[in-house]
Every structure is written in structure tokens, then in C-alpha cells.
Amino acid sequence: MTATTSQEITPDLIAEHGLKPDEAERMVEILGRQPTPTELGIFSVMWSEHCSYKSSRVWLKTLPTEGPQVIQGPGENAGVVDIGDGDAVVFKMESHNHPSFIEPYQGAATGVGGIMRDVFTMGARPVANLNALRFGAPEHPKTRHLLSGVVEGIGGYGNCTGVPTVGGEVNFDARYNNNILVNAMCVGTARADKIFYSAARGAGHSVVYVGSKTGRDGIHGATMASAEFDDDSAEKRPTVQVGDPFTEKLLIEACLELMEGDAIIAIQDMGAAGLTSSSVEMADKGGVGIRLDLDRVPQRESGMNAYEMMLSESQERMLMVLRPGADDKAEAIFRKWGLDFAVIGETTESGRIEIWHKGAQEADIPVRALSAGAPEYQRPWTAREAPAVVRAADVPAPDSLLGALKALMAGPHLCSRRWVWEQYDHMVMTNTVQRPGGDAAVIRVGDWSSRKAVALACDVTPRYCAADPETGGAQAVAETWRNLTAVGAQPLAITNCLNFGNPERPEIMGEIARCVTGMGRAAKALSFPVVSGNVSLYNETNGVAIPPTPAIGGVGLLPDLERMATIALKPDDEVLILLGE
């Protein structure tokens, strides 16, 4: 085949794309020839840890994902749970760790944008955002800058789109000094019978691109997110993506307007691997092929080649497959909202992803090879030796209990997070019944007369997970559960974001395996299924890994706000009761 992007495919180039020699062999075998540069790029992102879950998949399969309340478990853009009366909540959590370390404002902002797209892609209006943040030691020279940049970025994006940011957590630990964690969760509400999925069923339908134009943003971010940091990655870093929350807001409104009708067969946001992952996933789920003509892709920069367009991480873009005859109506809606709209291809019967640019075929790959055919590893793991038990009797008692309490309350781990959440608009939409600061946020569902609400919380205590991954994983799920019940909600389901170091190290793989086992055990025991999530591995620098951090995001239902509880102590003369052991 002839390709306009020509570059010799050397072993170095393959290695730079993060493919191991055996993976490269497999790629050549699938193609029956050497890949074009565009194909190499496509394999590289689709087989990256980020997209393929090649190290974690075997463990994720052990998590409980079902229950009478579950409408859609893992495998779609977000999980969907029934909350009665024909209503559903749609939610997911995702990491944006590496980009936020490189450029805290934009990294965090685009993380929020990405997770919101996962939710409104499914037909839900985003109604709340949460974020789980981990930074290095408070006194580390970078911490202040990273913390303020990340918080401003989350606020900058969420506030502008008009979605309240209602909860989250912030931890500090020296092991995050060079690998901060920014995990963003978005919750939306939809009608249970109007959920949109990503399966592009049927051949001959228009594949439509909407949103912002494509530029050379963050090319190779997806593979970068799976590669361990070293000292000069700060120098080699590719262009970071800049978020445009204003466009995101327009995209939310335009998509939800189009979703009122029945124009859409399938829809998928362009996430980390942009046009590549969105088209492959839609084709794969629908059992079809897709042919794209890149000349028709709206472009912001001149002279982009096929490789760049397929790997671009430009933000605020979506791909849709429309029903025959729906193009005009859809175009009118997107134009009204001032967004780009272009038919860039069609679904085919070939089962292949075919990319054309300037009259040349740049890629021709069987879709299955990229999805089900991606590598899956049963990586060896070992259990780290448990740290010695510290007996309470061996710890000297503080001079003054009140002094100790004051020191704890004033310390970075427990002090008020008001400084953070006052930078987030946590009240827009006029549904925030419990604001940040309590055990869980409570968001009313419906109009002002509605008495139904959902409770939202996110939790994990990395230090527990480091001490004993299995108990720590279980504890995180249980704590989320408790926080939801503490406001009077019935816990429904969880999402999660698994942040770990390099899985090729058996002791890290051991943390993953055991945390997931613990999470699964607790989720099963509590009938608190996992409906969505995300994995972020290789969070380590120069061999120093982060503590195991399986962040859990939970959603519960409050059928009647009358039954809601709050954290504040009420009148003077009430009795305090301690429950549990």
C-alpha cells in the first residue's frame, strides 16, 4: 500500500511507540506486512496500557459488576444505574495524572473535560463533578504550584461548563512528589430508556465528527500515559492539550439537544487516543468496519498528516454514527451552537479500520486485532512483606490530648479543604442540597418540587493500601459506603480509578492484584457493584512508585430528602452515640 506518511519502521521507532518486541511481531503477523507509520501509531495507542488494560484486565474481571440496579456495567463510556421512576445515574472516574504534573492547570482542566464527555456521551446531563487529588509532601518545592494549578484547572473547567464540583479528597505524601494523582469523577442523570451507547451497528451509515477542530495537541499522550517517567521526560514532553470549557459547554447542549430525537445510532467521545480509539471502539462494539477520509476532518493547523490526525488528543471532540437521513438535522443543531460538524466517513461491512488521506490508504487493520486481539498479561506478582505491627503501647502518649487534637486538625492531612472547594462553583444548577464539607454531597434529582436525591462520595486511604493492599482496597469501598449511608442514602454502585506504579515489577503487580481482590470482596459483601472505572499504571519516577491508590467513587440514592442526615451537631443537649467496634 502507499502511504503519504512515510518513515522507515525501525526497531527504535517501535520501541519509542512503547511496543515490546513480541508485541511488534504480533502486529506484523496480523498485518501480514510491515505497518505504515499511521498503523504503528494506531497499534501503539490501542495496545497501550491505557486503552487495552493489558496488565489489569485479568484482575478487573474478578470485580462484581452486576445487581438489579445496574443498567450498564463496565465496558461503555460510563456506568449506568437505575434510581427508580424511570431515572438513571451515569457516572465514571478517570485519571489525568501525568498531564497534570506537566501542566497542572491544563492537565487537570482537560481531565475534567474528558470525564464529562464520557458521561454526556451516554445521554446524561452532567450534574456533579468530584475529584480525588494526591500531591507530594506539603513542603516539597513543587507541591504548592501543583496544588494551586490543579485546583484552579478543575475549577476553571467545571465552573465554566456550569456543572457543580461537589466533593473529592486531597492527600499529601512524599511518594507523590514526582507523580501527583488527579482523578476526576463525573455524575450525570438521564432517563433510563434514553441511554446512548457506542456500538456502531449497521454498515453504510455516516460517521460524523463534531466539536472542535483537530490540531497537533498531545500527540502520543496515550502512550505517554503508560510509560514510566524519567528525569528528562519533562524536556521531551509533547505539546500538552489546552482545554476549551466554553466549547465543551456548547458540545453538552448540542449533544443533549440532538439526543432528544432519534438521530443517533452510536456516539463516542474522542478520549485519550482521539480519532483512533473512538473509531475503533465504535466499530468493534458494533461488529462493523469504519472507513475514514481524513481530508474531511476539521483541522486547526495546516499540513497535518494521517499519523498526526489519528493520534491527536485535541479536546472537545466527539464521533457519532447517524441514522440515514439524520445528517441535516444534526448539522443544523451543531451549527446553531457554533460547533464544527463534518461527515468524515462511513461504517462498512469489512470489519476493518481503513484510513484514507489525500487519496492514499494510510491504514488498513482488522478492528478485532486492536480490541479483543490486544495483548493481555498475566503478570507475575508477589505480596510485599507486611510492615511490622505498631502496638499502641509502644507509642508515647502526647503531653496533652487537646494539643494533639489541635495539631491534627491544623495539619495538612486533616485541615479544612475549604480553600479548595470555595474555588469550585459547587451550587450552580440549584440542586446542591449538601455542599462540600460533609460525609457525602447530596444532589437533588429533578426540579425544585422533587424530593429525590443522589449522594456522592469518593474515598481511599493510600497509607492503608500500602500497609495491606487487600484490607486497604476493601476499606476504601467500605468507607465510601459509610459516607453515603452517613447522609441517609442507600449505596448503589461504585466507579474507581486504580493508580499504581509499574506493573512489570512483581511487587507493584502484587499491590494491584491484592487491592482489586479486597475491593471485590467488599463490593460483593455490600452488594455495591463496580459499574465503571479506569486504570493508571506506571506512576513512578526513577524507581519510586506512588503508594497503591485505588480511588473509589460511590453513588447512593435518597428517595426522600426528608430522611437526609447532616454532619452538624444540632441542639446542645443531644446524646452522642458511638457505633461499631
Partner: protein
């Protein structure tokens, strides 16, 4: 009451204020797209909060040039009440319907919290139900709420009693500590010379429903609904 809420690209408190108006008047307002050139018959026009055009360039600058704003300015000149909340206030200053400008908060940070306001004048449609000097609690949520006007303009506003709300503490003291954004003279809201155009940074619609923890904003909407019922005439359906 026939209220019209103008929806700009990036408005995000449009639905919130619509709910407050409906709760107070029993009737949903019309939502009017910024690209329209004609306004429906309206006894009240609301410019809602949000981030019109992303707050890019300057908050409110681009929205002030939306096609519908020509009609809004004309109606305002005819005496139709116009309420601008947060981004709506910024748009009102950018169109020149209200004097001064809203600059970046002195802290440079976005700030979202409840604040106390002293009602400085009850001589407007909007503040009629409050007592002069009453302290009310409304939330703020903005990045650019730092009110600035030149000394002559400030003197004029003060002299004509056009400062309607001022940031204060819970006891009504106007202090620097109670000023969330660096506004001159703790100004939170001002009105036009005829008292019919009101711009304020805080959000009365966010504390107008008991479930949300307060109702200090509700009387404003209620008073508008009572005073403005049927004045637009052209459309007399269901009045509550």
C-alpha cells in the same frame, strides 16, 4: 408575569433563575436565544449568570454584542425592568446600561460561598420586600466581581442612592473582611437611574428554595411576580 431569560452561549444559570421565577410566579419564563433580534412581550428581562463566551477576553464583553442585546437595551430605555445576575451584571456594564466595570477578584481566585449583603435601598422593584439595612444571605460564585468605577461615577451612584447591595458581615457591618472580591465600597449591586435595571454579583436564585438551605433570595422574585403581573399585556395566559 411574562419574564424572558436571555440564553447566551455559555450561560449556565439560565435554568436556575427560570426555576426561581417559576416558583415565584407559577409560570415559566421564556428562554430567548441570544441570536434572536426580537424579544417577546416581557414585563421582565433577565440576564442570567454563567460564562457567556467562556468569559474569554473579558467577562460579558462578547455577550454584550449579541444580536438580542440591541432589543434589550431598547426595552430597558422604555422602562422594562432588566435584572442582571453575576455574568448578567457584567454584561450590563459592558453594554453601558449600568456604569463601571467588573474586574478580576482581588484574590485572583474564583470564589464560591455564601456572603452577607446589606440591602441599601428598598426603592426598587427588586428590593421592595426587604427592609432598608436588612442583612440577607446570598451565594456568590465568580472570578470577576471586583466592582470598579471612577470617583465621579461612584459619587453619583452613592448620591443618587443607586448602590442597592453591599457586602457586609452577619451583623451588617461593611468591612474589608466581608468584601469577597475587592469591590470599591463593598459594592455588590447597583441600579440604573430609574431604578429599573439592577445588576448584582450574588445569586438570589441560589437561596430561594428551603431545600437548598435558605430563602433570602425568594422575596425578590416574589415581589417581581406580584408587581409585574400582566403589565406586558400582549399575552395573558395563566396568571397565578
Amino acid at each position: 408575569m411574562n419574564a424572558s431569560v436571555i440564553v447566551f452561549p455559555g450561560s449556565n444559570c439560565d435554568r436556575d433563575v427560570a426555576r426561581a421565577l417559576e416558583a415565584a410566579s407559577g409560570r415559566p419564563p421564556r428562554m430567548v436565544w441570544h441570536g434572536e433580534t426580537e424579544l417577546p412581550p416581557s414585563d421582565l428581562i433577565v440576564l442570567p449568570g454563567g460564562f457567556s463566551y467562556g468569559d474569554y477576553l473579558r467577562a460579558g464583553a462578547m455577550a454584550a454584542h449579541s444580536p438580542i442585546m440591541r432589543a434589550v437595551v431598547e426595552r430597558a430605555r422604555d422602562g422594562v425592568p432588566v435584572l442582571g445576575i453575576c455574568n448578567g451584571f457584567q454584561i450590563l456594564t459592558e453594554t453601558g446600561l449600568l456604569p463601571g466595570a467588573l474586574m478580576r477578584n482581588a484574590s485572583l481566585k474564583f470564589i464560591c460561598k455564601d456572603v452577607y449583603l446589606r440591602v441599601e435601598s428598598t426603592e426598587t422593584l427588586y428590593t421592595r420586600p426587604y427592609r432598608a439595612g436588612q442583612v440577607v444571605r446570598f451565594p456568590v460564585a465568580h472570578h470577576d466581581g471586583n466592582y470598579f468605577a471612577d470617583p465621579a461615577t461612584l459619587r453619583m451612584l452613592e448620591g443618587e442612592g443607586r448602590v442597592i447591595f453591599r457586602y457586609c458581615d452577619a451583623d451588617g457591618n461593611v468591612t474589608a473582611a466581608a468584601n469577597p472580591n475587592g469591590s470599591q465600597d463593598n459594592i455588590a449591586g447597583i441600579c440604573s437611574a430609574d431604578g429599573r435595571v439592577l445588576g448584582l454579583m450574588p445569586h438570589p436564585e441560589r437561596l430561594a428554595d428551603p431545600v437548598l438551605g435558605g430563602t433570602d433570595g425568594f422575596p425578590m422574585f416574589r415581589a417581581l411576580a406580584e408587581t409585574l403581573t400582566g403589565r406586558a399585556g400582549a399575552d395573558h395566559a395563566i396568571h397565578v
